[in-house]
Symmetry: C2
Subunit: 237 residues, 2 copies
DNA sequence: CGGGCACTTGATAGTAATCAAGTCCGGTGG
DNA sequence: CCACCGGACTTGATTACTATCAAGTGCCCG
């Protein structure tokens, strides 16, 4: 993060900030002011944007692409906590406390990020309480997801976990399709396994099981079609 | 929550608000103003403060006592998400969105709460951005705990889960003691089991195992002494 | 002193992890 | 265009762990 942060060629500051939900309450004039505070930087697939235990200079906003936030467990396994994509922010925990990053952030594909320095951002929230509310709203969503994840992880219910991750991806990365909803998976089988905390073989088995049950249709390794969304929802709650 | 909210006999508004971390940046004058907005209410042990799916009128602050926040899983098991005690707040998710409560809140003992209505609180944050920052800080802490919980739940590592809950309770409910740290457990074995998502028998077994290993010493069902804190920390990370 | 409740302890069974082969697919080079 | 190669995925067999079922045991309170 201490490397050269050059302006990214793919986006202009104004557009970038305007696309982000947390700034949706700002008008053009405010956005223009904000644009000056933003630093851009591109990352290649597999490149680390932040490393657990290192310092973060500010808030990171995903402008294009996808990233995963993960930790390595004591057993050496990767536990993915979040998958973020365009418009999401990350690194917020370090805004208030002078805390080190609590997880690694890695680009899952070619990704452009915008960064706002800590103090600039704090000032921004003081000036525009609505931005603070937006941040809180997003934090509530994350808490919600984690609370749900814990509920399903607690009950030893691997099936429910797979189903809810499929529904989550259907929401974020799905397109409508004559047979149902076509989902382009941001993660490999192993990635999904690391996300929901099971072995990768188990993911394979459960997915083929779901296919046999007619709930989904696998289309190679990166795509699948959700045919019976209700069946997935049902077993989640 | 729509029942009679009477002023509680055990506390005066000013003191109540002053004791709460999120209001620590307010001076006496502001606290006095705030006091007028607060509604008090006592709850008996076992009484429900909020029910999943019902409306919440505002932010709840625990003034005295302890509460648990939990959901019932599809298998009919209770999944405890949080244990809150004096100075903690809860019900924040409903402040911004007009959302129903996402979990039940139940008093674990005789408990007094303070409540601030939604709109009053939003106004308060707009007027005092520092309160918003305090709230965010606490939300970050909760995210942290949940992220850690997921990490240890993902790895099938029941021991790590027990150890981290012991460390958590040692922090919040522990007192120093010649042999180590005396912890007064807010939850029964079953409660602990529901908190970390295992069977209650497993909690018993692991605790006796820890006692045999000389790491803790059980003192009846409600108290224990942590003798070797480092051993617990070690296996958590 | 007796009853009830929470906790402990033991035996069994189920589920997912792990270990171990295969199989499929995309890419590369002939 | 086809054959080969490597990586990711699938499938199968075994193992390990925890849930579940089932008795006990101890403690608190009347």
């Amino acid at each position: 993060m201490t490397r050269d942060l050059k302006s990214c060629p793919n986006c202009h500051g104004e557009i970038c900030a305007g696309r982000v939900p947390i700034f949706s309450t700002l008008d053009m004039e405010d956005l223009a002011k904000l644009a000056g505070l933003i630093i851009h930087r591109p990352y290649a697939k597999g490149e680390l944007i932040a490393i657990e235990g290192s310092d973060l200079e500010g808030l990171i906003i995903i402008n294009k692409g996808q990233v995963k936030a993960y930790r390595i467990t004591r057993e050496g396994k990767e536990q993915i906590l979040y998958v973020f994509s365009e418009g999401d922010f990350v690194g917020e925990k370090n805004l208030l406390k002078d805390q080190k990053a609590t997880y690694n952030i890695e680009a899952l594909e070619e990704t452009n990020i915008c960064m706002i320095k800590k103090n600039d951002f704090k000032q921004l929230i003081s000036d525009y309480p609505d931005i603070g509310f937006k941040i809180m709203e997003e934090l509530f969503n994350r808490l919600d997801r984690l609370e749900n994840a814990i509920k399903s992880m607690g009950t030893q219910n691997v099936e429910a976990r797979i189903n809810s991750v499929l529904l989550e991806f259907a929401d974020k990365y799905g397109k409508d399709h004559p047979k149902g909803r076509l989902v382009i998976l941001p993660l490999s089988r192993e990635g999904i396994a690391n996300y929901i905390g099971v072995a990768r073989e188990t993911v394979s088995r459960k997915l083929t099981f779901l296919q046999d049950a007619g709930v989904i249709e696998l289309r190679g390794n990166k795509k699948l079609i959700i045919i019976d969304k209700e069946a997935l929802k049902q077993s989640v709650e």
